[in-house]
């Protein structure tokens, strides 16, 4: 067998008794785009850390360029051309673009004085390699997620990278940005750089990669050329179970809508939003980041009340000026950013679940009724199939999918009439995603109205009976759920492109 860029053979790794990697092998050829797929917690991240020298394997060998490397450490890995771009990009928000790209090199060279003009020059070169144009003096914290990612890639290229590992690079990107990233990746491939792309988004996996390695429960299940696999097989290998793809359909809705808005506007965020949600409907809402979709959801939930227009619940005009108002009117909201907006990470699963209904858990003395709380928590854990060791364990010990179920349980406990979900499956593995969708469908079947905000087209197609598209603060179109494909989306979205194209990234050198 000819030598590969990197070969991991029979890697085993345990953390204090947890067997994270069991006899895993991975081989990446020169100039190959390789995808590592698997559900959350299957050991993908651990494998990357073994490859980049962060964790030493308990057993097994690592070969780079055919050479056996024992005791690989992070610096050696970087010197061998292995660069990892983690989910948080490890960049400094308070520094400028140029500093972020070039500073590491300057520091590594142990320079005593900083040569600013040279630093800008190197930064410029690195950005040119990737083919992007960013203002070198812009503070990174003001840039979009996509731009931050490009900076991380540029920085990786500074070190003569031969392999760039990208850990879930598309989670926070819009469709358009994903396209741009894919073009960058193709460019890198042409330059002979190998890419290891870690993802659980099936569309991307197929579109991008030449070979796919699938992991499950710390073992690699299969490593195969991408054209030998299809979606069903991939899902089966990842989850170990067959998942059928069906659509959510309900008949034409008449009668009083659960929730209706009339010309709802919030200055600078969205305007003239008129929509209605009937009992049993799952209405999708999509649009790029910054299209006003999150702001609309937060206005309906009273976090940032709308400035004009009206909201009707069951036909009655209501005023929603605070979260408490929204709760009173039976509106619940599962926020976009689970980690900062949704969860109290250090607090127990139990507390995270009852937060929205604490006041209903009182006994006649006004004290919290522990028995009531416990039985509620137990029943939700069971209903949503949350895999938790103990309800008293901190919620941060759960996987993404289980955390999302906790947030969902919290709001379902408040027995809402309208449920707004913002990105319900972001960072959630396929199995949990299906479970969450199933729960939502069941609830809708019982007469709940759901507004589901998502970027994930297959998710919208399968779960929603209709989908609304937002652009620059307005609803610009509507489509039937099951026919909401990539083409429909692009058509709707680009149809009204009359004024000045979509907002381009800021910070371009003028």
């Amino acid at each position: 067998m000819p030598k590969a860029l990197i070969e991991l053979n029979h890697i085993n790794k345990s953390f204090a008794g947890v067997h994270a990697l069991k006899d895993v092998s991975l081989r990446i050829e020169y100039g190959e785009v390789h995808c590592l797929a698997g559900e959350n917690g299957c050991g993908k991240s651990t494998l990357i850390k073994v490859m980049s020298g962060v964790h030493a394997p308990d057993h097994g060998e690592i070969r780079i360029d055919g050479q056996l490397r024992s005791g690989l450490n992070p610096i050696e890995a970087i010197n061998s051309g292995i660069q990892v771009i983690y989910q948080d990009f490890s960049i400094f928000p308070n520094l400028t673009v140029a500093e972020n790209i070039a500073l590491n090199g300057e520091l590594a060279a142990r320079k005593k004085w900083i040569n600013w003009s040279k630093m800008r020059q190197t930064a410029k070169q690195a950005l040119d390699k990737v083919g992007v144009d960013l203002d070198l003096n812009a503070k990174v914290e003001h840039l979009s997620v996509a731009d931050k990612q490009l900076i991380a890639i540029s920085r990786a290229l500074m070190h003569e990278a031969k392999l760039i590992v990208m850990d879930e690079p598309t989670t926070a990107l819009t469709q358009k940005e994903v396209r741009a990233l894919f073009r960058v990746i193709e460019g890198l491939k042409r330059d002979g750089i190998s890419i290891l792309f870690v993802s659980h988004k099936l569309e991307e996996v197929f579109e991008l990669s030449e070979r796919i390695t699938i992991m499950r429960n710390g073992k690699n299940v299969i490593s195969e050329r991408a054209d030998q696999l299809n979606r069903e097989k991939l899902v089966y290998y990842m989850t170990g179970r067959q998942i059928d793809e069906s659509y959510y359909e309900i008949g034409k809705q008449s009668g009083t809508p659960l929730l209706r808005t009339d010309n709802l506007s919030l200055k600078g965020c969205f305007e003239h939003i008129s929509l209605s949600i009937h009992p049993g409907e799952i209405v999708g809402l999509t649009g790029l980041l910054g299209s006003g979709r999150t702001e609309l959801a937060e206005a309906l939930f009273g976090l940032t009340p709308a400035t004009s227009g009206e909201i009707f619940r069951d036909g009655e005009p209501v005023s929603i000026r605070s979260v408490q108002d929204a709760e009173t009117h039976g509106i619940a909201y599962v926020p976009e950013d689970r980690l900062t907006e949704g969860l109290f990470l250090e607090q127990s699963i139990e507390r995270n679940m009852v937060v929205s209904v604490i006041d209903e858990q009182k006994d006649k003395w006004g004290m919290i009724d522990r028995r009531k709380v416990k039985s509620a928590v137990r029943s939700w854990i069971q209903k949503l199939g949350i895999a938790a060791h103990s309800p008293l364990a901190p919620v941060k010990t759960l996987s993404g999918g289980n955390q999302q179920r906790v947030v969902l349980a919290r709001w379902l406990a408040a027995s809402p009439k309208v449920l707004i979900l913002n990105g319900p499956s972001v960072g959630v593995d396929i199995g949990s995603k299906e479970d969450i969708h199933q729960v939502i469908r069941e609830l809708a079947g019982q007469g709940l109205g759901v507004l589901m905000i998502s970027d994930d087209l297959p998710e919208l197609r399968q779960s929603c009976n209709r989908v609304l598209v937002m652009k620059r603060g307005r609803i610009i179109g509507e489509a039937e759920g099951k026919s909401f494909t990539q083409e429909v989306w692009s058509e709707l979205h680009d149809a009204r492109d009359d004024d000045a194209g979509p907002v381009e990234r800021r910070g371009n050198t003028a």
Partner: protein
């Protein structure tokens, strides 16, 4: 769902067990265990070093009069710290409100009033002080919750404000000659228990119930660990913060009343060192300075530990200079242990679970 997953979804056994066990309670929180050990070690050390002065009824009775003021102030500090803030103005509130009380009791009372009348004025003074304490706290709470100024800045400012106001009112002089009935609160005993200790115990019980049994307490802890999530979770952050700072002011005014009853006079700059000591007690007691977590038992044990240390050192005739030095050492030591031990515990637990699972 597979069999294994189903097994994992079942809550663990202790979650279902309604009975209380001291062992489980102590071991549920490593910090409490450590604090308990430290308290016992300090106690035993002091007993061994000076058995004839430390381990006496006299010394205990004097301790019981000394620590309640700091204890009550620590409770106030604890509440604000659990909310993710801090209240530096507690001593300012204590002095200002107790001066108000003293003025009502001393200056408003008509010349030659009967015992009954002067008792009514005493009650009036106490009520005034407590109302003023709540108002001071609400002022802090308003600035923190409504205007959104960081608590450390708000209370630093209001600390100066309250103290300055107290100085202006009294012209820097002490108010003396409190009614005897009132001083007996500070120096008397009820069925053999010093009154300040009884007041402290009542405060502890009240704060315990608020923090652990009332929805307010759970909201406070959740708010403290992530204010954004608590807003998204339907908690009215403004109300919770207002209540917290008002409670802090209330407790501070109670501490102030106990303080003037003990010294039989009120002055604008009494007990300024209590601010830092209260922070020390609270942090020592395992309250997370970033908010969200705090156990009342920890704070009680911490204040007792410091009192044992302080009385023990006095019994050893170690000067006050040394006292601060040793308190500092204890605080830093405990924080180091707290920072290091979770990692050890994690390792131990992981090792344990691997044994049971295989």
């Amino acid at each position: 769902m597979t069999n294994q997953a189903a097994k994992r979804t079942g809550p663990d056994a202790s979650y279902d067990d309604p009975s209380f066990s001291l062992k489980r309670w102590l071991s549920s929180d490593g910090n409490l265990t450590r604090l308990f050990v430290i308290m016992v070690v300090v106690f035993v050390t002091m007993t061994v070093l000076s058995p004839r002065t430390f381990l006496t009824l006299d010394s205990f009775s004097s301790m019981a009069f000394q620590f309640p003021v700091l204890g009550i102030l620590s409770l106030a500090m604890m509440l604000t710290m659990v909310s993710g803030g801090i209240d530096l103005s507690i001593v300012g509130i204590a002095n200002l409100t107790s001066i108000l009380a003293a003025m009502v009791m001393v200056r408003l009372v008509p010349e030659g009033a009967s015992a009954g009348t002067s008792f009514m004025y005493m009650l009036l003074g106490i009520v005034c002080a407590i109302i003023a304490g709540v108002l001071c706290g609400l002022l802090n709470g308003f600035a923190v919750a409504k205007i959104g100024i960081p608590p450390i800045l708000v209370t630093l400012g209001s600390m100066q404000l309250f103290m300055g106001l107290a100085i202006v009112i009294t012209k820097g002089q002490a108010i003396v000659g409190l009614p005897e009935q009132f001083s007996s609160i500070g120096n008397g005993s009820h069925i053999g228990i010093p009154v300040p200790l009884i007041i402290f115990a009542l405060c502890v019980a009240a704060v315990y119930v608020l923090l652990n049994r009332r929805p307010y307490g759970m909201k406070l802890q959740l708010l403290g660990s992530n204010p954004t999530a608590s807003r998204y979770g339907g908690i009215n952050n403004t109300v919770v913060l207002l209540k917290t700072y008002a409670l802090s002011g209330l407790l501070a005014s109670i501490a102030g009343l106990v303080m003037i009853a003990l010294t039989n006079s009120a002055k604008a700059d009494y007990g300024t060192s209590y601010i830092l000591q209260a922070i020390l007690v609270v942090v020592l007691g395992g309250v997370n300075p970033n908010g969200g977590f705090g156990k009342i038992a920890g704070v009680v044990m911490a204040v007792l530990t410091l009192q044992f240390l302080s009385s023990g050192l006095n019994a050893l005739h170690v000067g006050n200079f040394f006292k601060d030095f040793i308190w500092g050492i204890v605080l830093i030591l405990v924080m180091v242990i707290n920072a290091v031990s979770p990692r050890l515990k994690w390792k131990r637990r992981a090792a344990g679970s691997s044994k049971t699972s295989s």
